[in-house]
Assembly symmetry: C4
Homo-oligomer: 250 residues x 4
């Protein structure tokens, strides 16, 4: 199977931008993109799962199961806004090969829908707390780098791992332009400050009308989902948690 | 090849339920499902093997070889009983990817036969012996959770690994409903008490007429098979065993 | 690619037996089968290589390269002899998945040529030197076990790893009968005593006229090939060897 | 996806030779081949990427992203020169399986373009610095070995890992002739002396008019690319580098 994509509908979009928001350092992208989905009331149109995701199910409060999955949403822009394809999910692939397969599939679907520009987000890990996180950028081409330098970002030096790097990297080989935007973060918990920072830049660039007042609510939703997936500690239930950390696969 | 399924026949079933019983903690599912097969005289209609199973053959008493394999049986319900597809076997897949491939294939076959509901069973590992094992549940939807809470199960908190989690998790993405039912167990040996507990709930729910008197016989059969596969210790032949634990693959 | 098979010709065979002889403990199978090929002047008709073989080339004395490969030979039996398909090679696959793919491919080709019986050979590792190695057997069915018990073999208890186990194990699932025959060996070097022992049984069973006088020559050829592949130590050139054990892959 | 090849054009070539130049010990091949591309003004006609490459993007000075990739160039020979297919890139595959897939794909494309001869280059690692590096050779056939012995190369004893070994090894199974030519090197940095040595032999053999005066420039270009990819240390910026060596994939 490798990667299976269930498409519920095939949206009609005009020159859409793909925005990535999978879990990563500080969950900067994950929060930012969930906030976009909530505020824009974006429509889920595809679910993707891969054999390189974790092989477990997870339970939420009322005993219902959730599965490692990636989802695609669309937003048809109003009055000058850009059309969007939004990649959201609770996991990246566990293996290098899986990451390639996942990104390949996402770019396939996006290209089919007319998309030629990809934005990936993330956290730039720091050892020390920073009050005003700086932004860092890398892009497929000089023009795009310039635009981001103009809004105050600095250039990323080094390697960009994971989906944030691959979508821009493979994308370039497939004729996409795009950039990766990172905000400084300690990276130890869902970081609303860093998320707000990248989100603001994205909204300005794409003329999106998004209210950031309720961002902290989105952070809470993210924190809850992550706890269920064991991606972050559940601070107030440590005793209860021990018990639930079992594996019963032989 | 990935996963190869040999179908001996394509049974005509009405709204069948898939019940999973592969080896896992305490072999709770493995025993329960073998007992169903024996008591209902279910018919084997498919054998599945995957490149992610162990790469060995195993010998049974008289020198005959057995191979890592999963099998599907069917039971056409009599007088009010639900039709069943029963998944039995001596192994799960060894890798995450393999587990996805295996579960994907099983759901494919089940869906083709009209199945939209999946039940997975297992043991919930405890450090201390429990006299009356409790039951735990997670399900694809609220209604199904409720039904199981009504028969005394509690909600699973955390992650459900292996085929027990995946069949329900991927199943949900493919339009299946279902649940995972676990019984507390030390998990160190084939646990007839825990098996009896889950089996009783399943039989009541599906109106299956199954005599549980001979369950201990089924436990013995299971213990024998597992010893051959090296999944559990052969208590009375330790000296003889050393000798037979060789690998001759370079 | 997974496994690529180059067929040079498609031989016309009558009810042929597949005999496996890949490298393994004591190189028992490898020697036995090479001797069959040499003495019967069997014809190479296929070369198989897999992405799960080692990723290197090897040089032989005059600077020519050799590659990890499996080969199939055929022998059309004369006067009462059984037709043969002989599997020879300088490697097994490196991964579990690879072993399945390799064996699946070999059984595909064999079945296509009318083969329904598979013999695998090997060494049964002992810690102490044995003067007269005993034979051990496991088979797909009782009748075949009996035949081998009649020639003095004992029953294998436990797990048979690698191609020797898989070909018989998967073979059974695909409608092949067959057996695995092992001879006791220290397993530290190409063992001509153990090889002679299994070869004698095979030749008797299949009415093959094979002269075993020159078996030690075959052992020498095997030793040479193995040294080139780094599978065994090159005893007389240790100084020279250090230098050649380099890797230049980054 | 495994390996994806984007062909920009399908060049018309006459009996071309494939020359491999991926990163390896001392970057001997990488430098030599890049120099051929620069001096011959070879045309890039294909880009290949595989799911077994690293899953990251890399940034170059001005913030632009580069991706792990292999590229194919062609050169139509002038006046007696041989037509060439040149394999260049910034990575080999990370896994054994990946190396097979990559080499298989490259041989497919080359065969399709009429190529039946493959040359791979590399460094032969030495512990001590050598002033005048010796050349070592292995080849698919005696005639080719002889030709290289005539220009002063010695025979490689042992195993040739990576693409340098596989292209010649698998190539032979697919009907290619060819050789692997290595020059002694410390292997710790891009080695212009070793590169010059192999390049000179190749140019003589294929009657290529290539000026080697500017080879040191090519070495500098190579060093720069490798630093961006983290394959070699960036000597003058160690302080700055610490900061950029982050991973932000969860």
């Amino acid at each position: 199977m490798v990667c299976v994509a269930h498409l519920r509908e095939k949206p009609e979009l005009t020159n859409p931008v793909l925005i990535e928001g999978l879990p990563g350092i500080g969950f900067v992208a994950n929060i930012a993109v969930l906030h976009l989905i909530r505020e824009l009331k974006a429509n889920r149109f595809a679910e993707i799962y891969c054999s390189s995701f974790q092989d477990f199910a997870v339970t939420v409060e009322k005993g219902q199961t959730r599965h490692p999955v990636n989802e695609l949403y669309y937003h048809k822009g109003k009055a000058g806004e850009r059309d969007l394809i939004i990649l959201y999910g609770n996991t990246q692939a566990l293996t290098t090969t899986g990451q390639y397969e996942l990104c390949g599939r996402i770019l396939d679907i996006s290209k089919e829908l007319g998309c030629r520009f990809v934005i990936t987000l993330g956290g730039f890990k720091r050892e020390q707390e920073v009050n005003t996180p700086k932004l860092y950028v890398a892009a497929t081409d000089k023009e795009t780098v310039s635009k981001l330098l103009n809004v105050g970002a600095e250039i990323i030096k080094g390697q960009i791992f994971g989906v944030a790097g691959l979508l821009v990297g493979i994308g370039r080989l497939r004729g996409f332009r795009g950039f990766c935007l990172l905000a400084e973060t300690l990276g130890l918990y869902p970081d609303s400050v860093a998320s707000r920072k990248v989100l603001k830049v994205i909204c300005d660039m794409l003329d999106l009308e998004v209210n950031l007042d309720s961002l902290d609510e989105t952070v809470e939703v993210t924190r809850n989902l992550l706890e269920n997936f064991g991606l972050i500690e559940r601070p107030l239930m440590k005793k209860g948690k021990k018990e639930s950390q079992f594996r019963w696969f032989v």
